[in-house]
Symmetry: C2
DNA sequence: ATTAAACGTTGCCCTATGTCAATGATCCGA
DNA sequence: TCGGATCATTGACATAGGGCAACGTTTAAT
């Protein structure tokens, strides 16, 4: 098994080396170029993805062509379009690499089969959902009660990798403001 | 078991009458008055709650005393402060009934014990998390890309019960705008 | 190495929303 | 039933952020 995925499982679950080795074959490794898509809007999502190196984002595009980014997955994180993965309906969001990335993917059938049959994977899936849900709850509060300056300051303090590794345009789309506004806010700091 | 909870479990899982009856004793029923708290900020959350009738909300209060409401649980829904329940840390949000409500509660130790030992509860917990996570994802996109008028219109179309059963003040706190702005927007419709 | 495309910054103007105050309506406690 | 508290609405004004244009910088393709 890839060392980073192995570490991920070991940190989150009491799982034996032997069991890990039975899981390894389900994960396929692939390298994506910057801006390459893993999923396009309208497709049915069929994989869960683990980022070994690089970064991918989940975003949607509205009728006016404006992008909104919901989530970044840096190294050591899982990410996928859960809405489509679970419902098997066409996705309303896309998955794209924002820099060259090495990604491990597991097919949804294999993944949910393991969730049902392998207690360690079941526990880890619950932790993924719990953690993701808690994170998005906090972002809801952030959108409700903070202005743009406060949000930028929060990123600087808590998620500096976003500011250092991603473009202004993409960061602005994550914060829900325009790149022009983000430029102005950065000038004020 | 309470008929509404029984219906909830039966709709979401193949579970026998017999198994349901073993689950029933874990749930305690209580009626709360309007504005009564189930959890106050700073307390550690120890229960998961199911709404039989009425409505409860989860909200936080910032330093200026402004309330932001993250989630409403109407009849037939589970709700709790997952961040505190999972981490056993003091909650940064509160749970309050917004009208007189009948609530079933289950202690977190019992709940997670059942998640570990009862496959139907494990599956249902996953569905709760999946559904909650997907819903909050959509709200993230909503906050990023819609203005206040669009959000009010969306509520009218998709969640009219919120508009008909709750006060303007509470609705505004859910939408992330002030009650004055909500009044103006309603006047424009 | 060069050129085109994309990104970032800044200026100016407009709109949406917040803030505060005043007034009317509704709810709740005695 | 009545009076106080709370909520809702509206007016006037202030501020944050959006929209658009222009220009400079950086990136990517050839």
């Amino acid at each position: 098994m890839h060392p980073k995925l192995k570490l991920y499982f070991e940190e989150r679950s009491q799982i034996s080396e032997e069991r890990l080795n039975t899981l390894a074959p389900y994960f396929k490794e692939r390298t994506y170029r910057k801006n390459e898509y893993l999923l396009r809007e309208g497709e049915v999502c069929k994989h869960n993805y683990f980022v070994v190196s690089g970064c991918m984002r989940l975003f949607s595009v509205n009728k006016e062509g404006v992008e909104n980014t919901r989530y970044f997955a840096f190294e050591g994180k899982f990410g996928t379009c859960f809405t489509s993965l679970i419902s098997r309906q066409p996705a309303f969001e896309s998955i794209q690499c924002v820099e060259e990335s090495t990604i491990l993917s597991i097919h949804r059938d294999d993944f949910y089969q393991l969730v049902e049959t392998e207690p360690a994977v079941n526990a880890i899936y619950r932790k993924i959902l719990e953690s993701a849900y808690i994170t998005t709850q906090k972002r809801i509060y952030d959108f409700q009660g903070s202005d743009s300056l406060q949000r930028v300051k929060w990123l600087m303090a808590h998620q500096p990798t976003i500011l250092s590794r991603l473009s202004n345009k993409i960061i602005a789309s994550y914060l829900g403001i325009t790149p022009y506004t983000l430029s102005r806010i950065k000038a004020k700091l």
